[in-house]
Subunit: 264 residues, 2 copies
């Protein structure tokens, strides 16, 4: 599959900025992609800030889009375009970008680090993004929150009582393990994109469930996790980004603050 004319065309087309295709006005899953690009100081465009950016998103996910010669159509954003390559799925985009941006070990015969970082990122996204989203949409993504509010209350209560501590405890354990290396990071003693994903997800659940997170942070049981959060937040490029207007406010996306879903 490798040595086709198109693969050659592709290689020479990579010396161009990354293009992030994502909904305007929510940080959403696109935010993970942005944090990698920002931390690395990479050149990129972002439909969230482009005139008619939403049209680009809608054209990609149109039910008539069959993709192109090289790329299957994407089901949903975030979508990354880089030269001839167009890919979707948050953890997949991060996997592509991570080694290129110095935020994960290179993919090589003699280094399996990327699979460890990918596992950590997938686990963060499962527990602190997908499951957090489902607390306000437990029945169906296609229904309004108001139409599943009672189910949401039950779901959020279980999430805060059981799932949040389970995931926070897991990452605390990862940080205590030897494979995490020295310093505040999850893997190998260096910042990887798994750390950026964990930062963003903690930031999101802090917004959604401020009371619960305050209690969990205050318990001291997840010291390493919150130290990692602070360490990412203080990185110069991330700090500059978070203060810029490129960083969008949480609203009606994955992380929503409904006081009735938080603990008292």
């Amino acid at each position: 599959m490798a040595d086709t004319p198109s693969a050659k065309r592709q290689r020479s087309s990579k010396d161009v900025p990354y293009e992030l295709i994502y909904w305007p006005s929510i940080p959403g899953r696109g935010e993970h992609v942005r944090l990698l690009l920002e931390e690395a100081g990479a050149q990129y465009t972002d439909t969230a800030h482009a005139e008619d950016g939403i049209k680009t998103v809608l054209a990609q996910i149109d039910g008539k889009n069959l993709g192109d010669d090289l790329n299957p159509p994407p089901l949903a954003p975030p979508i990354l375009k880089h030269g001839d390559l167009l890919i979707s799925q948050t953890p997949n985009i991060l996997l592509y970008l991570g080694p290129r941006l110095g935020l994960a070990p290179k993919i090589a015969e003699d280094d399996d680090g990327i699979y460890r970082v990918n596992a950590l990122a997938l686990t963060v996204l499962d527990g602190l993004s997908n499951e957090a989203h489902d607390t306000h949409h437990p029945i169906a993504t296609g229904l309004y929150y108001e139409d599943q509010k009672e189910e949401s209350k039950r779901c959020a209560k279980e999430y805060i009582a059981n799932r949040l501590p389970k995931y926070l405890g897991y990452f605390e354990r990862v940080l205590k393990g030897k494979a995490s290396g020295e310093g505040p990071w999850l893997y190998g003693g260096s910042l990887t994109y798994a750390d950026l994903v964990l930062f963003q997800c903690i930031d999101g659940v802090k917004f959604a469930f401020p009371n619960a997170l305050k209690r969990l942070e205050g318990s001291g049981d997840y010291k390493g996790v919150f130290e990692l959060y602070d360490a990412v937040k203080e990185r110069p490029k991330i700090k500059e980004y978070l203060a810029s207007d490129r960083r969008q406010k949480y609203s009606e996306g994955i992380y929503r603050h409904y006081p009735e879903l938080d603990e008292e």
Copy 2:
């Protein structure tokens, strides 16, 4: 991160069978890993069929396990051990195995195929495994089905009406696109692990929602998807595997058949 003594030890330790660490008595998410190994005729061991296999699973996911020098602890099975490498997360294990077993393009500078296959596999797992699971556990994984039966009915109805056709229609569109190449497969004109994942998930939803799937198949709108399903099922090694006692029956796992959740 690459050139450490441990990375070298790792390389020489790879000439050993794969070890799948997964719950006994359900196909579950471990089944995706098995199908790759079976299709490739790879040597592997499986805790599902080992005496005390469950102890191996429980030791890995124990709340005191901190992993080892190289590997963070896994949160949940499936877990793959290969020499010194130990990784978790279904799509991550498939990503590791796919290129090694000839079921995905090799990861190389001049070939981005692996990211397209990974995106497809992630999308299948999202829509036809994770969401299918949530139809019988919409409120909390930690509660019994009986304690969320009414919510499950509502969730399954929405899933069958909206999500199943959305995902089947998406994969039909992928199959119509040029990037799928010739033949019945999703990407590049060759069998990849994304096809095996789609096969297993269709098989699972057929078990869970037989009436709905019969109607959807009969509609003719997803002809390519069901042809792919049949094409995988007829591959000699898969056929032999499915008839063997290594293939476990569906029961109380991701795919469950509750007649009240299916359509009439």
